[in-house]
């Protein structure tokens, strides 16, 4: 059994997607890379984030994130900035049970504390299922 002391030894590597006033997190193990999107790039396998969740207004440039999953990989295009962080595991929180029961976006998995804020951690595999459904 892992106690609180053991949790303090563990860390959680995350990729943060800053989109204006909203920041979402993904486990970094699913993120292969990210770069500024060029309009000349092939759009095969690219899913616009706007088809997966409402996009807040942001002046940030468009990014192309490469995600790898056990079933393959796909590309997520979004406006925003990307940041890699490694947080203590103690800053990871389960979604409160009533929210877990009522969530309308299956990809919402957990919450993480970051710089005094609570961010939503998305489930990359669930997000991939959603991407497959809309593409």
């Amino acid at each position: 059994m892992t106690g609180e002391r053991d949790l303090q030894q563990l860390s959680l590597p995350l990729v943060l997607l800053h989109q204006g006033r909203q920041t979402l997190a993904l486990e970094s193990r699913w993120v292969l890379g990210c770069h500024a999107f060029r309009s000349s790039e092939a759009a095969t396998g690219v899913v616009d984030a706007a088809r997966l969740w409402p996009q807040p207004p942001t002046p940030s440039q468009q990014q192309l994130m490469t995600l790898k999953t056990p079933s393959g990989g796909w590309y997520l295009r979004f406006h925003g900035e990307v940041e890699f962080v490694e947080l203590p595991a103690t800053q990871l929180h389960a979604l409160p049970e009533l929210m877990q029961a009522r969530k309308t976006w299956p990809a919402v998995k957990a919450l993480v504390e970051y710089q005094g804020q609570l961010l939503v951690l998305l489930d990359a595999l669930s997000l991939e299922q959603q991407a497959l459904a809309v593409s």
């Binding site: 409160p96 049970e97 009533l98 929210m99 009522r102 976006w105 609570l118």
Partner: protein, 171 residues
């Protein structure tokens, strides 16, 4: 001075004694609040804490409108929900920013945003009345009792039923 028979005096003493016993009548703690222009209450035993309402609230996407967000209460993350839809109360035009009641019942817990905390009182249990049949249908499943508070009818809500139905997708 008027004369009173011994029997009458003894009866008066018995009444006085009964009144003393009444002080020990079981009481119930109620957390009374305003919501959607009506007065409601939860039993105090189910409310862990009342927060003033200015806590930093974090929006969580992908939730129904009745979820306001989450708050960090000394390291514990609590959801904050609105009960307007569940209780069929008018949807607030502005963001509700009154007190947050931290409720806990049947293994479930959540913050419940109310318009205004009115009072926390201890009342004799005998003051709780059964809810009338004329109660609006939308409130009937949730109102466990009625009580008079400063001339206003207060509906005492069954928080376990509220949480259970909310979890099942109502509201």
């Amino acid at each position: 001075m008027s004369q009173t028979s011994v029997d009458e005096l003894l009866a008066l003493k018995r009444e006085a004694a009964n009144e003393v016993v009444d002080v020990d009548e079981p009481t119930v703690k109620l957390v009374i609040f305003a919501l959607g222009g009506k007065c409601f209450a939860f039993r105090g035993q189910f409310i862990k804490e009342v927060l003033p309402g200015d806590e930093r609230l974090f929006y969580v996407p992908g939730m129904p409108p009745s979820v306001q967000g989450v708050i960090n209460v000394r390291g514990d993350i609590e959801s904050v929900i609105l009960l307007h839809s569940l209780l069929d109360l008018p949807t607030p035009q502005e963001v509700v920013s009154g007190s947050i009641l931290l409720g806990q019942a049947s293994g479930m817990h959540s913050g419940i945003r109310v318009d205004e905390l009115l009072d926390v009182v201890d009342l004799p249990l005998s003051q709780l009345q059964n809810p009338p049949e004329s109660l609006p249908e939308s409130l009937q499943p949730y109102v466990a009792a009625l009580v008079d508070f400063s001339g206003k009818a207060v509906a005492v809500l069954d928080i376990e039923k509220v949480f259970a139905d909310y979890q099942d997708g109502l509201g």
